[in-house]
């Protein structure tokens, strides 16, 4: 599986279908924001979000939303702070802030959060 930095460098996209997001990398999610929901609980008992890991990709299901393409408008994004699998989760320099933008044809543009955007850890 490719690393997050490779994905960002190659501008590889993810996918989304309805409330399901597919990411072409594997990571630990520390914090996530969608709309006004700030999610830090990724345990199986959390009703709002479900994370599933597969050998070659990751899936996130947002149970409170039907269609991410409708919810996340042109200038908005799903924001998340992640740590790549295998990296030291306790070292802040490995914490990466990503923005996921739903686009046409179920494509999900993945980018590092720009300097004008803020997502505080």
């Amino acid at each position: 599986m490719k690393s997050i930095s490779e994905i960002l460098k190659q501008k590889q996209t993810g996918l989304y279908f309805g409330n399901r997001v597919l990411l072409p990398f594997s990571c630990h999610i520390l914090k996530l924001n969608i709309e006004n929901d700030l999610i830090t609980d990724f345990s199986p008992c959390c009703k709002g979000v479900y994370v599933s890991e597969n050998p070659d990709f990751m899936e996130i299901y947002f149970h409170d939303y039907k269609d991410l393409g409708e919810v996340i408008t042109k200038y908005e994004a799903i924001k998340m702070i992640v740590v790549e699998k295998g990296k030291d989760i306790f070292n802040e320099k490995y914490h990466i802030t990503l923005a996921l933008h739903p686009e046409d044809n179920h494509q999900l543009r993945i980018e590092k959060l720009g300097e004008n955007q803020i997502f505080i850890e």
Partner: protein, 477 residues
């Protein structure tokens, strides 16, 4: 397929069009003067005979109760259904006035007022969304205080909504290494609420007063000496709290000290919007009236600014501001319902206040307006109490000439509700439109904000209530 909300709003517009066409006969035969506001002058003072039924206050009460509880207790249902709820409740009142009271004057007047209101809010919202400020300075309590004071002042020029939109992100960014919920809470206190108490552009209640006939500069002349000490006191408390949160260790981060400002074109649009507030036949006699249409040149300019400022805005700025139309769409839908359903409430309150008379002091109006503004939207609350105050003196809030007379004869009453409606809007997340917007932006920026009751118990009650009590003792006791 059209969504249900859009079908209903088209239906609503058709009804207003129908009323306007009916009204045009009355207006041409009366050779009325020019203003859209002047339409209200034909409105009769409501005697006990043609008062609406008390039950007709129910849609208003239901709507306000749902606005207060929806985002807190059933927010997914509320987010999906608020447009249809607001419009249906509004239509109940519209049908009642059309077919039971045969009163088209009140409806048309309210439609004109709604369009002016939403034109101002939406244009300020969109124009300020295309501006980006970046401050590369080290976060200190005094820098933060300076930003809050600056925000409080400009809230009177671009509205509390515009000032909040413009400053919340730079404020969060400056404090990103030590941001705490209290930073955002004091921002809500000062920039999103108390700051905007000096002009009708500042806060929606005052703009509604202006539309009813309160002179533009009346508020600043009668409120500044209450505004200034309140602002300084709240800022001082912020500085004391913030000083305890400053790390003594140097982070090693270098700051250029630069303040970057992008989106100058939108500043020009903001200027046009502010100037257009005065482009009204009631203020400038050369301005043509579009009567019997429920809008005028001013509203056309403002709505044009919405389109122009959005279409010409820099994409990077809109992205940095995470711009979307949802907040203003919410205000537009909810206020269709609020404006329509509050017509009977206004008339009944005015009538009751006239009966209660002497018992109602400025202090009572101050606290009643304040407490209700904390939990209901402060704009309709202000208008209800303006109606009550004028009713106490046998005057009609629907007649601009009487509003003008009222502000001259009983300034302390008008000042009490103006101050209370704006100041107490800071008491809860639902007191004023920008409060929720700032909370939402902060949460999207990763800041965990206090709950509805946490906000009150930890911040607004201990900080604001003592200050508002001092205001009452000094000015309205």
């Amino acid at each position: 397929m059209f969504p249900r909300g859009k079908i209903l709003i088209i239906f609503f517009i058709l009804i207003i069009g129908f009323i306007a066409s009916q009204e045009s006969f009355a207006i041409t035969s009366n050779t009325l003067s020019d203003s859209t506001v002047a339409i209200s002058s034909v409105e009769d003072t409501h005697s006990a005979d043609n008062l609406p039924s008390t039950f007709m206050v129910l849609p208003f009460v239901i709507l306000l109760a749902m606005i207060a509880t929806g985002p807190l207790f059933y927010h997914h249902f509320w987010e999906k259904n608020y447009p249809i709820i607001a419009i249906i409740l509004g239509l109940v009142t519209v049908f009642y006035y059309l077919f039971f009271l045969n009163d088209t004057h009140s409806l048309l007047h309210t439609a004109a007022e709604y369009l002016s209101f939403i034109a101002l809010l939406s244009s300020l919202f969109v124009a300020s969304g295309g501006i980006l400020i970046r401050v590369d300075k080290k976060s200190t309590p005094w820098l933060n205080a300076g930003i809050l004071l600056f925000g409080a002042v400009i809230a009177n020029i671009i509205g509390t909504t515009g000032a909040s939109m413009l400053l919340i992100r730079p404020f969060i960014k400056i404090n990103k290494d030590r941001i705490k919920p209290y930073h955002i809470v004091f921002f809500i206190f000062l920039v999103s609420n108390i700051g905007g108490a000096l002009t009708p552009i500042g806060d929606p209640p005052l703009f509604l007063g202006f539309l009813r006939g309160v002179e533009f500069f009346w508020v600043i002349g009668h409120v500044w000496y209450i505004w200034l000490p309140t602002i300084l006191l709240v800022t001082l408390i912020f500085v004391v709290i913030d000083s305890r949160n400053v790390s003594k260790e140097e982070s090693g981060e270098k700051f250029s000290g630069k303040i970057e400002f992008k989106g100058m074109r939108n500043v020009f649009y903001l200027l046009v919007i502010v100037i257009s507030v005065f482009i009204d036949p009631a203020v400038m006699s050369w301005v043509p009236s579009l009567s019997p249409l429920p809008f005028g040149i001013r509203e056309i300019i403002m709505f044009s600014m919405v389109i122009i400022s959005y279409q010409t805005a820099d994409d990077d700025i809109l992205k940095a501001n995470e711009f979307n139309f949802e907040p203003i769409k919410e205000v537009a839908y909810l206020f269709v319902g609020i404006f329509a359903t509050m017509i009977p409430a206004l008339q009944l309150i005015s009538h009751e206040a006239n009966i209660l008379g002497e018992k109602l002091t400025p202090g009572i109006f101050y606290w009643a307006t304040g407490i209700l503004s904390s939990f209901l939207d402060n704009a309709p609350t202000y208008l209800n109490f303006l109606s009550a105050e004028m009713g106490k003196f046998g005057m009609n809030v629907n007649m601009p000439a009487e509003v003008l007379k009222f502000e001259q004869l009983h300034p302390i009453y008008l000042s009490a509700i103006s101050v209370a409606a704006v100041f107490f809007g800071a008491m809860t997340y639902i007191g004023n439109g920008p409060n929720f917007m700032v909370k939402s932006i902060s949460e999207r920026s990763g800041i965990k904000m206090p709950s509805f009751f946490g906000f009150m118990i930890k911040y607004s009650i201990p900080v604001l209530i003592p200050i508002f009590t001092i205001v009452w003792l000094v000015f309205y006791f």
